[in-house]
């Protein structure tokens, strides 16, 4: 046993311990708080594994926004077991056995592939092609150039989910207007978050950062506004909101199609332009992601979302 491994072992142990505690807690509030702590610890692990982009994203999205959403769900009184049916002892036993066997199998395969007979993966290729990608942050190169199609579809996933929130949800009641201290805090926190988001977006081309981290930070600004009693949380109403939601996917898709019309392949950036095109796409994506996340936090329909009445008119009669 090598002593230099001690910090890693400690971190790993704490991760498992926190996850276990969060998942086995019967008190939901405790579970959520432990889960947020788990997310923050995970951000440290990402930093340890030389993944600063992920550390930023995890802190903002994984721990921050997920945490905010879960805490709001608690405020709504969500999720308590109403008629909890405890699984029988035999079922528990079988599930535990299954979990144990699968953990060992996955662990064995990971040991084989990482330790016993490691293979060459895409690291060298991805780093070698970086010069032709238009950016110098390799993660941004993968996200917006090599595997840009994944990112396009991922923005569509966000869109589908937020539409779902709008369809099923009614807007939550807002928060009381904040007291003077918090109000003062808001006045410098929101601009700070917006500036940080802008910085993260800009710096993403060559250093850790990018559209997702920036979008999440911008969304945090919206959430702070909402907490301070601004019900709209900084989002526009009506048509402008729709444009904001569509912007990321739309710009991405139209650029991709334009490239295929101008003689290249779909999403094949002309090399001289790729840096600027990627930045424009990222700006639009940031706006859409932030809008979607704030809308998800706000919990559904707004006055600006027209044509919706409380009673769903459905001609089908459900028995």
């Amino acid at each position: 046993m090598n002593l230099t491994l001690l910090p890693d072992l400690l971190l790993a142990g704490m991760l498992i311990g926190l996850a276990w505690a969060a998942l086995s807690s019967d008190d939901l509030r405790r579970g959520v708080v432990l889960f947020i702590a788990f997310g923050l610890l995970l951000a440290i692990v990402w930093a340890r594994l030389l993944a600063p982009d992920l550390a930023l994203a995890e802190a903002a999205i994984g721990a921050g926004l997920s945490g905010a959403l879960l805490l709001v769900a608690l405020r709504d009184g969500g999720g308590a077991d109403q008629h909890a049916t405890k699984p029988s002892t035999l079922n528990r036993w079988l599930i535990d056995l299954f979990v144990l066997v699968m953990t060992c199998l996955i662990g064995w395969v990971l040991w084989l592939t990482i330790y016993a007979e490691p293979v060459e993966r895409l690291a060298q290729l991805a780093n070698a092609m970086l010069d032709r990608s238009g950016v110098s942050n390799p993660v941004t190169a993968v996200l917006l150039n090599y595997r840009a199609y994944d990112t396009l579809l991922e923005l569509v996933v966000v869109l589908a989910a937020v539409l779902g929130v709008v369809v099923v949800g009614r807007e939550r009641r807002g928060y009381r207007e904040a007291g003077p201290v918090f109000h003062g805090l808001v006045h410098w926190l929101v601009p700070l978050l917006i500036v940080t988001a802008g910085y993260l977006l800009w710096v993403g081309a060559h250093a850790p950062g990018g559209a997702f981290q920036a979008g999440a930070t911008l969304a945090a600004a919206g959430i702070v506004l909402r907490l301070a009693g601004y019900d709209a949380a900084g989002l526009p109403d009506g048509r402008l909101l729709r444009w904001l939601l569509v912007a990321g996917t739309g710009v991405f898709l139209l650029f991709g199609l334009a490239m295929s019309f101008s003689g290249g392949g779909f999403l094949q950036y002309p090399e001289a332009w790729s840096g600027s095109l990627i930045l424009i796409i990222e700006v639009a994506a940031t706006a859409s992601i932030a809008a979607a996340l704030v809308l998800a936090y706000r919990g559904g329909r707004t006055d600006g979302w027209p044509l919706m009445d409380e009673k769903a008119e459905n001609r089908e009669v459900s028995s």
Partner: protein, 484 residues
């Protein structure tokens, strides 16, 4: 450049964005977008039929570093089914949702669902498949809760949670594949993957995740509530297409990527589960008191039939015999897709006229809604597998594969399943064609009844007579290690 391949994805996606921006025009955009997607798929299919499998390396990066789209016989057949079914359903939905306040949201999500299906059938990259699976799952969940009732929301939520668990299992399989082989490109993997613990475990995990999504017994329990409580047009695509997407992926993995890993035992286990699904699903359909619930249980049974093919495929040597069996499987899946969507649309028409879908009170349907009653009968023919439907030919091939491989165990399953399917179909038709006042007076319902009857006609006649086209297309494979 085969930029053609991006259009089946780009057209519905672009239409979805337009429908979101112009909610007042959403119906037009929705129907037109679906029609243009159909056109895009037809163009792709024509090229595959003329010149074989095609590939598009997105972004100009070699597949591996970048993502490739690929179209071959199997994906073209699935694309054609999904686009034809969605075209017919879209026409019906334009009436069904015409007065709903969620019209605009319906059309956006509808187009996103088509985007997801097409992206899934064309994707040649394992992680990209995960993203398309999530897009498909989320848009399907939202569509399923448009009904707005408590039951439909609860069913949609269960569907979402189980779907997420399935996606996670799929994703960890993808991680193990990347660990072991250093690439996510499916064509490269088809060559590289060899039998060993990594491949074996990854295949098990991915298949396990997909089994939840394809609702194979005993993981089927989420399907009947989710499919029977959704609005009729949504039920139609959920049962006909969304379940098939997971099945398509299982076929891809088992036959093209992991063909050297699959063991006879593993295939036999899935076959046995399929057999139980056939018997249990048909029995439950026979007991069902509601039309849509009956259709949903029948889907559980039909999915079971498709899994019966896996042990047969695993036992057959690569070559013509196996291709014939595979073609039969695809033909059965296609027939069920068309027949079941027709069935759900007909159920929707009846439900809107009668205000309920209790089977025992459907007397008078044939007189009030003759076209819809005819649709139910035609779809029933295809569900049972009577000639001249596509499923008749498919089951015939299924039987002959049973004879070739000597796996006699499946004979009673097929026989009893077919009898039960006959029983539940004729039970329904008995009520529907009986005199009675259960269904209100007839109104002019052209745009609602015609799509359903067309879908049923495709299932019973077109697929029956042009089944040879399916058998010709299936052997065209984009994956070297596969059946080609």
């Amino acid at each position: 450049m085969n930029n053609l391949l991006i259009w089946p994805v780009a057209v519905p996606l672009l239409s979805a964005l337009l429908a979101l921006l112009w909610p007042r025009r959403s119906t037009w955009i929705g129907v037109l977008g679906t029609a243009l997607s159909l056109l895009a798929v037809v163009l792709v299919s024509r090229q595959v039929i003329e010149s074989g499998a095609i590939e598009l390396a997105l972004g100009g990066w070699s597949p591996g570093l970048g993502i490739a789209l690929r179209a071959d016989g199997l994906s073209v057949l699935m694309l054609l089914m999904s686009t034809l079914v969605s075209m017919a359903v879209a026409v019906y939905a334009s009436v069904y949702f015409s007065r709903s306040e969620r019209r605009s949201e319906f059309w956006v999500l509808w187009l996103l669902l088509i985007t997801a299906l097409h992206a899934l059938f064309l994707s040649g990259d394992l992680f990209n498949l995960y993203v398309t699976l999530e897009l498909l799952g989320l848009s399907a969940v939202v569509l399923a809760c448009l009904g707005g009732s408590r039951e439909s929301l609860q069913a949609a939520l269960n569907y979402l949670v189980l779907g997420l668990l399935g996606s996670m299992a799929f994703l960890i399989g993808v991680a193990l594949i990347y660990a072991g082989y250093g690439t996510l490109d499916m064509a490269a993997l088809a060559v590289a993957i060899e039998s060993g613990p990594t491949a074996w475990l990854a295949l098990s995990l991915m298949t396990g995740g997909l089994l939840i999504k394809s609702a194979l017994f005993p993981l089927h329990f989420w399907l009947p509530p989710a499919h029977s409580n959704a609005p009729a047009p949504v039920s139609a695509v959920l049962s006909a297409l969304v379940v098939k997407a997971a099945l398509y992926l299982i076929l891809r993995l088992w036959l093209a990527l992991f063909d050297e890993v699959v063991t006879q035992t593993a295939a036999l286990i899935l076959g046995l589960l399929g057999g139980i699904a056939v018997l249990w699903g048909s029995w439950a359909a026979l007991q069902a008191e509601r039309l849509k619930l009956m259709a949903a249980y029948s889907t559980v049974a039909q999915v079971g039939y498709l899994f019966l093919f896996l042990p047969l495929l695993a036992a057959l040597p690569e070559g013509t015999t196996r291709d014939v069996a595979l073609g039969a499987l695809v033909l059965l899946a296609l027939t069920h897709g068309f027949a079941k969507s027709a069935f759900f649309l007909a159920a929707g028409v009846i439900m809107q006229r009668a205000g309920h879908d209790r089977i025992a009170e459907l007397g008078g349907t044939a007189r009030a809604l003759p076209v819809t009653a005819f649709t139910l009968a035609l779809a029933g023919v295809a569900l049972i597998g009577l000639p001249p439907s596509g499923s008749f030919l498919a089951k015939w091939q299924l039987l002959s594969s049973v004879f070739i491989t000597g796996q006699w165990i499946w004979l009673p399953v097929i026989a009893i399943g077919t009898l039960l399917a006959g029983a539940y179909t004729f039970r329904l038709l008995g009520y529907a064609f009986a005199p009675g006042e259960g269904v209100g007076p007839s109104l002019s319902v052209g745009r609602e009844e015609i799509p359903a009857v067309l879908l049923a006609l495709v299932a019973t006649l077109v697929l029956g007579f042009w089944a040879s086209a399916v058998w010709e297309l299936v052997p065209i494979s984009a994956y070297a290690g596969g059946e080609g």
